[in-house]
Amino acid sequence: MKMMRSAFSLAAGAALAIGLSSAPLQAQTVEEIQERGTANIGMLVDFPPFGIMNEQNQPDGFDADVAKLLAEDMGVEVNLVPVTGPNRIPYLVSNQVDLLVASLGITEERAKSVDFSEPYVGIQISVYGEKDVEVAEPEDLEGITIGVARASTQDTGITELAPEGAHIQRFDDDASAVQALLSGQVDVIGCSNTVIAQLEQMAPGRFDVKFDISEQVQGIAVRPGSSELLDYINDFLQRVKDDGRLDEIHQKWLDSPLPEFVRNSAD
């Protein structure tokens, strides 16, 4: 019985895999979405403040607001589909969503499977700490204690930049590194602008950004070849960047206007 069941699930799995891989990559058009009247937009719900589940158990966050704005611009209803980090691209290429506003970092590797819009948001990694700690560039980190989450982008970045005499303390996660900063166990931490936004709310004016380490921009993703939809999205992004609506959403969720490097990379 058990064997039959596993044989069945194996067959089902195989059928599903074939189904997925043989589904033609359908280019998506704006017209088609408008005819249907609903845009199916994939987003993360486990990546605050970009994608979360709110008190009503509905997808919410920065990405949700951008997705809603885009659907509104197209004149259609929005259907937010929760996806996860590993399955977001499969969801898109198997036609289960029309596009992704899922904090998808623009990388060369991913650009082989999906087409990216211009950046709509970015994550910046910086060194951040007590105002009276005087650090303006990596060399100043000598003798300074820096907290990072082990093996994170900031860990790799700081390990590379920091001089010999810097003390890098590696914690298990961002929360512990932040706790170490708050309790004075470390002088500065390496962290993303999302963490900084949270810290600014918890302890306004106590810390400031020392210098930036790296930045990663995120784009809206569509199926390859959907150039008409992509043009529409890029035009939309340009308009909401220009009229400040994207700034407003960024201010709402990240407590700061859209970072310059996102705005400037539009060419």
Partner: protein
């Protein structure tokens, strides 16, 4: 099995692992010694100290034995700076290990002390021994002999518990293992190697304890 083992990246960093293992030995070794002294003192207070002190020791034992070690170490590392005590990760780890072991050790040694027959102590008084002599030779030593196996297994457990200190960024064996794992993605290989190192350390400590037992309790049992 479709998994290809890649041990080279782990062995390339073996010197780092040895450094981590050395810190683990130092941390657990010092915590054992200091923790043992704390345990003896507290066990004495609990069995024959003044009421308020015995009560305090009891509260300490109950508090530590009924809360997770991870929480205790977070409390010491992140909480003490609020009281103006900023410890380095390694000293916070050592302090946490001593405090944690002290609670378990106190109970073990108390059990040993209470196992000593009253007549044995009275025999000491009858022979005209001083109080300290009675405590040292008639109570503590036989008590230690009785609970030695329990004490040493608690020592080993202390050494293994020290793997948690990587949470406050102390660079013990587990922390180094995590660093290597996240740099090379050879997670299974790294954990296999550090498991073997922990096993080796445990066996090493056990042999040392056996040796101590042979030297310290080198007299026949009376029964």
């Amino acid at each position: 099995m479709g998994y290809t083992f890649r041990f080279e990246p782990v062995f390339e960093r073996f010197d780092q692992l040895l450094e981590g293992a050395w810190l683990t030995i130092q941390l657990s070794g010092s915590a054992m010694l200091v923790g043992l002294l704390v345990s003896i003192l507290f066990a004495l207070l609990k069995t024959s100290g003044p009421r308020p002190l015995a009560w305090l020791v009891n509260a300490y034992v109950e508090l530590i034995r009924n809360t997770p070690f991870l929480v205790q170490i977070f409390f010491i590392f992140f909480g003490l700076p609020a009281l103006g005590m900023r410890l380095t990760p390694n000293s916070a780890a050592l302090l946490a290990l001593i405090i944690n072991f002290g609670a378990y050790g106190t109970e073990i040694i108390r059990a040993g002390i209470e196992s000593i027959a009253k007549g044995q102590i009275e025999a000491g008084f009858a022979l005209g021994l001083k109080r300290l002599q009675i405590f040292r030779y008639i109570i503590l030593k036989p008590a230690m002999r009785a609970i030695y196996p329990a004490l040493t297994s608690q020592f080993i457990y202390l050494m293994l518990t020290s793997s948690v200190v990587s949470a406050i960024s102390a660079d013990d064996l587990t922390a180094i293992g995590n660093n290597i794992q996240s740099a090379t993605f050879a997670a299974f290989e790294v954990y296999l190697v550090i498991t073997l190192i922990y096993l080796f350390l445990s066996i090493g400590f056990s042999s040392l304890f056996k040796l101590v037992e042979r030297v310290a309790f080198n007299y026949p049992l009376s029964r």
